[in-house]
């Protein structure tokens, strides 16, 4: 009999904890976007906007010279083929140093970062990525002279590929 009442007490406590958790979530959801960002645990990956700002470091990126090849509709988000090329002479004086491929709708914004050298011959990146949902893919190129180029391409995803 005592055993039973103990169990009942635990149940009540669980109910209380559960209730307060629901309330906390409701408060977070009601708060502004900024408030939610502050509540975020430190080990969460940076958001897309944070990552983009960090790469650019306050500089403006020119929307040019980047070509992103992607399927218009990706049926399987687990493997979406892509090819990114940047129009550049790739000479010792003028080449694409770094190319960031970013996702705006995945749990983590980074997909891959390519570091080129003049030996690469062409700023070219081709691989397969995971996409969680329909979103825009961004490519940011950092040139050897310190300037940035940016390209954007939308992709529709039928089945997300992040395990859920």
């Amino acid at each position: 009999m005592t055993q039973r009442s103990k169990l009942a007490a635990v149940d009540r406590r669980d109910l209380l904890i559960g209730g307060s958790a629901v309330a906390a979530v409701a408060i977070m959801a009601a708060g502004s976007g900024r408030a939610i960002a502050q509540e975020k645990p430190a080990d969460k990956p940076a958001t897309f906007q944070e990552t983009m700002d960090k790469i650019l470091g306050g500089k403006k990126a020119e929307e040019a010279k980047i070509n992103i090849e992607l399927p218009e509709i990706a049926e399987n988000g687990n493997t979406v083929p892509y090819t990114v090329t940047v129009d550049s002479p790739m000479s010792d004086a003028d080449y694409v140093k770094t190319l960031h491929v970013l996702s705006s709708g995945n749990p983590g914004p980074n997909i891959a970062t390519y570091h080129f050298t003049p030996m690469s011959g062409q700023a070219f990146a081709s691989s397969r990525m995971r996409l969680a949902k329909t979103q825009d893919i961004y490519a940011i190129a950092e040139l050897s002279n310190g300037n940035f180029l940016v390209g954007k391409r939308g992709v529709k995803v039928t089945i997300g590929g992040c395990g859920g």
């Binding site: 687990n78 980074n110 891959a112 390519y114 570091h115 050298t117 011959g121 081709s126 691989s127």
Partner: protein, 107 residues
Amino acid sequence: MSTKPRIKLPSPIKAGDVIEVKTLISHVMETGFRKGSDGNLVPRNIIHTFTASFGGKEVTKVDLSSGVSANPYIAFKFKVPGPGDLELTWVDDGGNKIVEKVPVAVS
């Protein structure tokens, strides 16, 4: 990280050509966002770095993240200065490292 990666070069190659090198390696590329059957997160295990170098000089380095599909396919371009060995390296979170040397014959 046990099976041999597949590497494909075009042929024939002339000095000064910009060639496309295609690589494919088998790896789970576990994202770290997925929950296992016990309800806990499966720890991240991905190939985080891929490097291609020729004659000791880096050609291309790629930092990969969870957003790269399993069994990553990576293609890159390479301006062939002459004959030599192309050295490709894959490193994963478990510290496993696979190094492949591909001779580049120039005709």
